[in-house]
């Protein structure tokens, strides 16, 4: 894991290379996190690959920070196999215009994972080869993993909410 100082070095280097990209750095439980501006995601990831050696993108996943704004977050887990180093690049996108640039052209592994984030959270990835729903049926309305989407399922029948005997007892 890049330690506190290493993270700051990376942040400043990125700040000069792509002005205005790094908004915040978080070093929590010995894991380095980098909050970046949403529109610069492709350049930041390309820069991290070229100059800082993070050659593998392990995971792309979405997070819904419901009460706080901007609400929809996307995390990119980067990994450097030589130095066994991990870095999380995070970005936050508001609900009304959830468009960010897709990184699939540079990182083919993000193809299905971005489709899952689109399917579950509604973050739209421009430039994705075929952005369709991956887990839910094609014609499903709503994005299930948002915090305000109801969990669904049937109410479990207990004595207090059972309306008459449901007819199983013959």
């Amino acid at each position: 894991m890049p330690d506190q100082v290493g993270l700051e070095l990376i942040a400043t280097a990125l700040g000069e290379e792509i002005p205005g990209s790094v908004l915040e750095t978080a070093f929590f439980r010995a894991q380095a996190g980098l909050l970046i501006a949403p529109e610069t995601v492709r350049q930041v990831l390309a820069a991290l690959r070229q100059s800082h050696g993070y050659r593998s993108l392990m995971s792309v996943h979405g997070v819904d920070y419901y009460p706080h704004e901007p609400r929809l977050g996307v995390h990119y887990e980067l990994l450097d196999m030589e130095r066994v180093d991990r870095l999380t690049v995070k970005l936050r996108v508001p609900l009304d215009q959830p468009n960010i640039e897709s990184v699939t052209p540079d990182w083919p592994t993000a193809n299905h994972q971005e489709r899952e984030v689109f399917d579950m959270f509604g973050v739209h990835f421009d430039g994705h080869p075929d952005l369709r729903r991956i887990l839910m049926p094609e014609d499903y309305e709503g994005h299930p993993q948002r915090r305000d989407f109801p969990l669904g399922g049937e109410p479990v029948l207990f004595t207090h909410n059972e309306v008459g005997s449901p007819g199983w007892t013959r």
């Binding site: 839910m136 049926p137 299930p144 989407f149 669904g152 399922g153 049937e154 007819g167 013959r170």
Partner: protein, 213 residues
């Protein structure tokens, strides 16, 4: 159906019965003893019971491995809980050659029409076992993505457990086998009194006539 061979007062030892059979074949056995021997060794049944006896002992399950219960379903074919002892080990891949659908796993809303179509494409007479808590009643995942099997197809046996032990599934299959032998023609709704779950076939006439299993 248990065949109870009540002991008639006649000779009991194997040797004597062998001699009696020899006399019968030679044709010098008459009267009461002949009556008794014939009564003892011939089974009378109806056509239905004979057909059901054959059907229930040769169910061909359709491999329908959805999720974790599929692994336990696979292990009933393995050596320890051998389903071949009862003649059910011929797991057929296509619904055309199967007459028992073991729904092993959780049925998601995207998979429900597929399960229904495969159940329709199975030839009559067909039965369905909902294996595990997820296909019987949404089990651990009471959420937006799971559909219990009863909502879209008639199920004969529900095997509880998550995943049920292979012995539990075996017990479910044997319970279904007994059910087939007892009274198969009554459709499963009358048999369980499941009022209100009549099956509305999309293509069949819209009146809620009872389409038997």
């Amino acid at each position: 159906m248990e065949v109870i061979r009540e002991g008639i007062g006649g000779p009991q030892s194997f040797r004597e019965r062998g001699l009696l059979a020899r006399d019968l074949l030679r044709g010098d056995l008459e009267g009461l003893e002949l009556e008794r021997l014939v009564e003892q060794s011939i089974l009378t049944t109806t056509l239905d019971r004979a057909v059901d006896w054959a059907r229930s002992n040769s169910l061909f399950p359709a491999t329908f491995g959805l999720a974790c219960c599929a692994i336990e379903m696979m292990s009933i074919v393995a050596a320890r809980v051998d389903v071949a002892r009862f003649g059910f080990e011929a797991f057929r891949a296509s619904p055309r050659q199967a007459d028992l659908l073991i729904l092993s796993g959780r049925v998601s809303i995207k998979m429900a029409p597929v399960v229904r179509r495969i159940y329709d494409q199975m030839l009559e007479p067909k039965w369905a076992i909902a294996m595990g808590a997820c296909s019987s009643s949404m089990g651990v995942f009471n959420n937006y993505a799971i559909v219990p099997a009863d909502k879209f197809m008639p199920v004969d046996v529900h095997v509880p457990g998550c995943p049920p032990r292979p012995e539990a599934l075996m017990h479910g299959i044997l319970k279904l086998r007994k059910m087939i032998q007892d009274d198969p023609d009554v459709s499963w709704r009358e048999r369980y009194g499941a009022v209100g779950t009549e099956e509305l076939l999309p293509e069949a006439s819209p009146t809620a006539e009872n389409a038997g299993a």
